[in-house]
């Protein structure tokens, strides 16, 4: 039987892997991807809580994470361009 604890532990493990990536990786894009991992883990906890505690409601919060991910992705593509472009054109 799979309980909420299993899902929450899995989410914690994924979150920690993402944290390790953000702290140890020195590549901006990889760091962003690790942030995505952390957001994904938090999403998993939201849906777990929604499933086990409020089964008749939708996990609305998850959609805000998707919106935020989109915005951060577009901003990240602009921000990533900064450190690299001068070297490429000089």
């Amino acid at each position: 039987m799979i309980s909420a604890t299993h899902y929450l532990t899995l989410a914690a493990i994924l979150f920690v892997i993402g944290t390790v990536g953000v702290i140890t990786r020195r590549n901006v894009i990889t760091m962003f991807m690790c942030v995505e991992l952390m957001l994904n883990a938090v999403n998993l906890t939201f849906i777990t809580f929604s499933h086990f505690f409020e089964p008749d409601r939708w996990p609305d919060l998850c959609f805000f994470r998707h919106d935020g991910g989109r915005g951060r992705g577009s901003c990240g593509s602009g921000a990533d361009r900064r450190p690299f472009s001068p070297h490429r054109h000089s």
Partner: protein, 175 residues
């Protein structure tokens, strides 16, 4: 059966997440991240959030990852080589595992405190069915109860787009 699928998805997700962190090239990390998102989408599906699983696949494995791959292909981040200092690496792992230990400990404490709500059975059937369909219920709560936060996120995206434009233009002026 459900148990096997769930454990398989969880193992896939954790392995792919580890690959994201450990792969030396950003392209491989992005591909592993797609696998991780796919496995997580399967878990969402199992938890009864079918629509969010679909959105996860469409938006994340589709749009966001294509964006990441574009950025990687266009900018070649491998040209920028940093070597993380040993101290930072060690402290990163130590901090992260401290966080993990705390989280697991908290959950164990919750269990020992006999919070039996947490250990309810999982079955897709026990979830109540929504009157008027899932998507309609979602639309009602998103556009009526949470209309203001939803609109605020659009401002967030606007700010992000403006930030991307500003950062890129500054760069061109410097050249």
């Amino acid at each position: 059966m459900t148990l096997i699928v769930c454990y398989g998805l969880a193992t896939t997700a954790v392995t792919a997440a580890l690959l994201v962190v450990l792969m030396s090239r950003a392209v491989y990390s992005a591909l592993a991240l797609i696998v991780c998102f796919g496995a997580t989408a399967g878990l969402f599906f199992q938890l009864g959030a079918q629509f969010i699983a679909a959105v996860q696949v469409i938006v994340y494995a589709g749009a966001i990852m294509v964006l990441f791959l574009f950025v990687i292909m266009l900018l070649d981040p491998e040209s920028e080589v940093f070597l993380p200092s040993r101290l930072k690496k060690v402290s990163g792992f130590a901090l992260a595992f401290a966080v993990l230990f705390t989280l697991v400990l908290l959950q164990a404490a919750d269990r020992w405190a006999a919070v039996q709500v947490l250990t309810g059975p999982i079955a897709g059937t026990e979830r109540a069915s929504w009157p008027g369909g899932e998507i309609e219920t979602l639309a009602h709560s998103l556009f009526r109860d949470y209309l203001l936060p939803f609109e605020v996120t659009s401002i967030l995206i606007l700010v992000a787009v403006l930030g991307a434009v500003v950062l890129t233009r500054q760069n061109h002026e410097e050249e």
